[in-house]
Symmetry: none
Subunit: 216 residues, 4 copies
Amino acid sequence: MATAPVGPRNETRSDEGSILQEKGAATELAPRAMRADALKNHEKILRAAEETFASEGVAVPIDVVAQRAGVGVGTLYRHFPTKEALFEAIVVSRLQKIQAALDSHTNDPDPGDAFFSFMREFAQQVNEKRDLFDALTLAGIDIKAQYADQLAVIMEQTDRLRQQAVLRDEIRADASTEDVVNLIMGTCHAAGQSGDDESGIFHLIDIIIAGLRPTA
Amino acid sequence: MATAPVGPRNETRSDEGSILQEKGAATELAPRAMRADALKNHEKILRAAEETFASEGVAVPIDVVAQRAGVGVGTLYRHFPTKEALFEAIVVSRLQKIQAALDSHTNDPDPGDAFFSFMREFAQQVNEKRDLFDALTLAGIDIKAQYADQLAVIMEQTDRLRQQAVLRDEIRADASTEDVVNLIMGTCHAAGQSGDDESGIFHLIDIIIAGLRPTA
Amino acid sequence: MATAPVGPRNETRSDEGSILQEKGAATELAPRAMRADALKNHEKILRAAEETFASEGVAVPIDVVAQRAGVGVGTLYRHFPTKEALFEAIVVSRLQKIQAALDSHTNDPDPGDAFFSFMREFAQQVNEKRDLFDALTLAGIDIKAQYADQLAVIMEQTDRLRQQAVLRDEIRADASTEDVVNLIMGTCHAAGQSGDDESGIFHLIDIIIAGLRPTA
Amino acid sequence: MATAPVGPRNETRSDEGSILQEKGAATELAPRAMRADALKNHEKILRAAEETFASEGVAVPIDVVAQRAGVGVGTLYRHFPTKEALFEAIVVSRLQKIQAALDSHTNDPDPGDAFFSFMREFAQQVNEKRDLFDALTLAGIDIKAQYADQLAVIMEQTDRLRQQAVLRDEIRADASTEDVVNLIMGTCHAAGQSGDDESGIFHLIDIIIAGLRPTA
DNA sequence: TATGAATGAGCATTCATTCAT
DNA sequence: TATGAATGAATGCTCATTCAT
């Protein structure tokens, strides 16, 4: 929700699970031009915010974000009425990416592979903007609570994957999806702080995967 | 050690120029009393800070910490000249606890048991003040860098434990001590945010331990 | 020069990525208006600071200055990022006035008259904001060191005047320009503290001038 | 007044014009010992304050003064109940020194020499603790107002000297004693800030003296 | 009585947010 | 509509002064 521009009203938000759709049917003219500009700013700001928060921490003055986005503070505030709103928009955009990664596995033949692949992709996503996630969490953004709906979809889908893998005995049954998510996120967090690169993280993920295999 | 009070430095006052100081009588008592008082405040503040930072985040005004400790801001600043100094003192005090846990295992007969036991105790420690750790890290306290010495001792000792376990084939050889530490800390972090209690964390730690067993 | 507003930097915005900017119409008016406003505040603050520091001493809370200027603290800080920066801006603006007085004498026919006239004008300038000068100096603003360049120009020009007067035997040769400056500034300082008005100061300056005449 | 210890009550203060008298008739024993100690502290603090204020400015925390004096803050406050009281005590002690210099000239045969000599000695005194004087003045210590009585004595005596010199036609008649005092103090102030040493100041004083000679 | 720990009002400065242009 | 100047509440920290030991 928060990702959508504030000014323009007529968006058809119902495409959950889709990443920023390309297919924009820009029909009219005068208002469209404005619209495009606004959207562009919206994105610019969002990206600038991600980068800035990730590198400087969430404590950075909003002005810095605006500057990095190349807009005035006023403009930033037009798009995101609050610093917190910016945080939320970022989280949502991240969740969408994760959702996309998940979607790409729904039709995989081998559930075990699918699950472990997703685990790695998930780790990749988390790792990519690791500091950002931490920062947001510490900033009091309770992702769990505020994005319950979208998380529920993700968790549910992930759990389907897991259950199928359990059925085929590719994963021990006593590890819940939430357990797995925690293990991955935590590992990314710690590895990131430890300065590990992606391969280092994959090594840790492999240890976790080993731990998830059914015990003989 | 950095935890020691800043103010009261009990150097024997050089009493230059003072007449009539015949009996060096009150050498053991009078100054000690003051010291005790100050120490008490020192501890009170440290504990209040731990609690407050953990529950409210490191962004809390220092006044809140002072209030919680039941002292004035000035007193707090007398003991910890900077907010950051408070952070550091907390970290140090935590590290000391971990070191203690580690020490209790140095003479254990079975290295595998010792290592896994310490893993659980470490997790316990980290979990106990989980938010605090996160908060500190996010606050820019680079524990790795600033407490390199003390960490080195801990890591080294831990590594000795691990190596012995590896020799007895109780742990896979390709998991470094740093890997293990990351896995634990991260897991605690994530589990904590997920609202897991200690048993939940132990469950996750068990999965990790399973992943650390030598692959058949 | 350092007096120029910090905030508004009128570089022609590079307008990267902005669509629909057909007519570069409002090039002269809109931005200028803002500028004028900011400049006005800049001056208001500078003047308020001069007055406030002079009457209350440099120890006044910055809020008082802001209040006197009729702006919020934030605004003050936007223009002068530091209390010290305010001090410096004041000094610079004073130096500029003195330089102006000096310039008005560069083409005077009689060097003796020119020199003594400038002495009186200089005294006038110093006296006008006497407390301010003192306050700044006491505040640790080392004018000599920090504005060496501008002072050098002033001193050099003044010295030219003096040398010409010496050549015409209108001034004793053993009094350096620095001596004269010291005599004037000091006298203003003391007379000011003594509650003397301008005529009182001129009387003292006349005594000094008498002392500067060549000894028969 | 403020110079006298606060605690002990039975001082016979009436010796105006005397510098710290050496002739202490310490008769009794127990209380005397205390008294001596207290007096010593009093002096130690006063001297430490002079030095500290002169070198660091009057803004220094009182603790610094106490430390330099080698006593606790509490002790300092026992002797001088307020920072301002310390300022005043310093001023008084300075005035006493000046008074002493003046006294040494009351019986001089040549009034012109006496006057000019005193001018130089006065300059010396002022110069010695120049920063201190400035600092005190800036700190809001209105010497003129607060020590009117003692100043009056000094001014009066100085004026007697001056009048005699005027009568002998050694000084122009239109320069009041206050003028002279202002010229000297101001010159010391400025010369001091300019980094001049005592000889530099004497040079300036000589210029002033030249200006004070009767105009032919 | 000397000490220095405790106190808390006070101050410089920052930054989220509003609003005139 | 975009801009950035203005706002002022909030925060870290200092320091004169008091008071328990």
